[in-house]
Amino acid sequence: MLDPLLTAAGALLQPQNALLVILGNLMGLLFGLLPGITVLAAMSILLPFTIGLEPISAMYLFIGILGAGPFGGAVTAILFNIPGEPTSAAACFDGYPMTRRGEAAKALGLAAASAVFSSVLGLLVLIALIPMVRAIVYAFGPPEFFMLLMFGLATVAVAAPGNTMKGLVTAGLGVLISLIGYDPITGVLRFGLGSSNYLWDGVNLPAFFVGVFAVGEVIGYYVAGGTIVKGDIRVTGMLKGTLEGVRELFRHPRVFLQGSMVGSIIGILPGVGGTVSNFLSYTIAMQTSKNPETYGKGNPEGLVAAMSATNEDTGALLPTMAFGIPGSAGSALLLGALILHGFNPGPLFIKDHLEIVWALILGLLLANIIATTVGLAGANLLARLTTIDVKYLIPTILVISLLGAYADRENIWDVALAISTGVIAYGFTRFDFPIVTLVIGFVMGRLVERAFAQSLQMQLDPLIFFKRPISLLLFCLLVLLFVMPLVRQFIAARRVA
């Protein structure tokens, strides 16, 4: 156990490998900052160039990129309400209102601290879970997954900020939009809107996100004018604000631990990914908060919930290495890199190449520390961007965002999709329909339907969801979600009486 750890640590101390982590990290931050372009693009670009490297060095480069993604993606989410990565989308909900209050530096500091500490916690969970990974992965079949997603959707419905009825409408619309495209069960194209090719794979997620967050927001800038920081609020005390943000994290230990656990567990489950984990963590935090009505209005707790669940890549390392089953898109690329370098991830991999496992763990730890350091150092400068007149920001943000929508699939119609989605998203915001529920419905919708169909394929019995202990437990929690507010109301009414 100790020898492979020392081998990995020794390799990390070599200047070449340390530089590779830093290089990967900077690339991850850069790609994370660009809306619509994910760190996966950076990994894909670099994959062929790593063939000449030692396997352990190649892993350090890749893990450097992965480690930088969460914070890189959160920067634009917090400053401009435009997530750089889909996995940081939930950071918009409270991070951006904090920016509008002149607390950009604090929000960035809080996001950076949440990302790094949750990653460290995720790594500890990863190390602890190595002996139990098989049991965990096998315990989560389609029925459990379905109930987990239903639980996530239900939390949104119950705790939607603002008008609950409108929250339910947008959540439903999000689910419906997610169903557009090829139906994996029957093979038909549903809701094609006259398209026979473009919508086959469904509504493109990066283009949809660019539309909802970037274009919708830019329309808001254009209508309001001025600067992002509103009114007489001055962006002051940058360094103080950043450190205040780091300190703020320690005021929300429960939400932080909860989010980190959600991120780690979702990471372990193959095919779910970080987009689900940060929304799920956010909704659970909102539901369990004493002040759910403050979520979406710049509550630091919401930002902690969103950012602490971005550690899913640490959890995703586990099934990737132990079974060769990637838990996320990032770990799928990492799996490709491992195979390219002659490894066969699976049960024997952890036994035979423990030094690579440790290299990935140590590399991810270092990558997170570097990303946070760079982030905290740059928070001052980045926060100043919010004081620039929006007339300069509008065209620059628009072209970069729309280019990001195009870049994912190199399909020009994705630009048109982002524009039209953005105009409708502005309408949602303007007429008090919560965007948060729309996005969560969209992210989880198709997964819900697929898990439901797979569950019934396993056993043609609708009661399958109640016959399996974890699924049943999740169902009980779901029921509790609806009952809890009623109990609270009852208690409050009794207190008043």
Binding site: I219, K297, I412
Partner: protein, 152 residues
Amino acid sequence: MTGRFAFNLLLLVFAAYFVWSATNYEPQARMIPLVIGGFVLILQSWVTIMDGRTNSAPVEHAEGAPPADEANRVAALTGWMVLFFGLFMLFGTLAAIFLFILLFLGLRRDVHKWIAFAVAGGMSLVVWVLFVRLMRFELYPGVLFGGSLPSL
């Protein structure tokens, strides 16, 4: 007809389209869309009625009242974005970025022409260095320069 009512109607039509389309699919493919679509249709009908009732009362917004010419501003920016899409499609990525920023800023009275030119040129250069040189990304060349339009 107010903007709020029109938007509510748009959402109703959207939900109705899903329900109507779903009825044509096989039972397995239509089950979830029908349930969710029907649910949204009912809720949105309720929201439309309730919003219609409170329409006469002014709606308070956390960030102050929207400007009187809000609809014109939204239409104007939508027009700008359609223009960007047209430029992108015809002339390709780099030319579209340069022309769009130049026109957007250059046509404003409160921005000096040279600043508009500098921002447009600077942004195009950043995109070229980042995407073409560093990422080796293939930018769209534009229909006029050999680019093809993917089928819809």
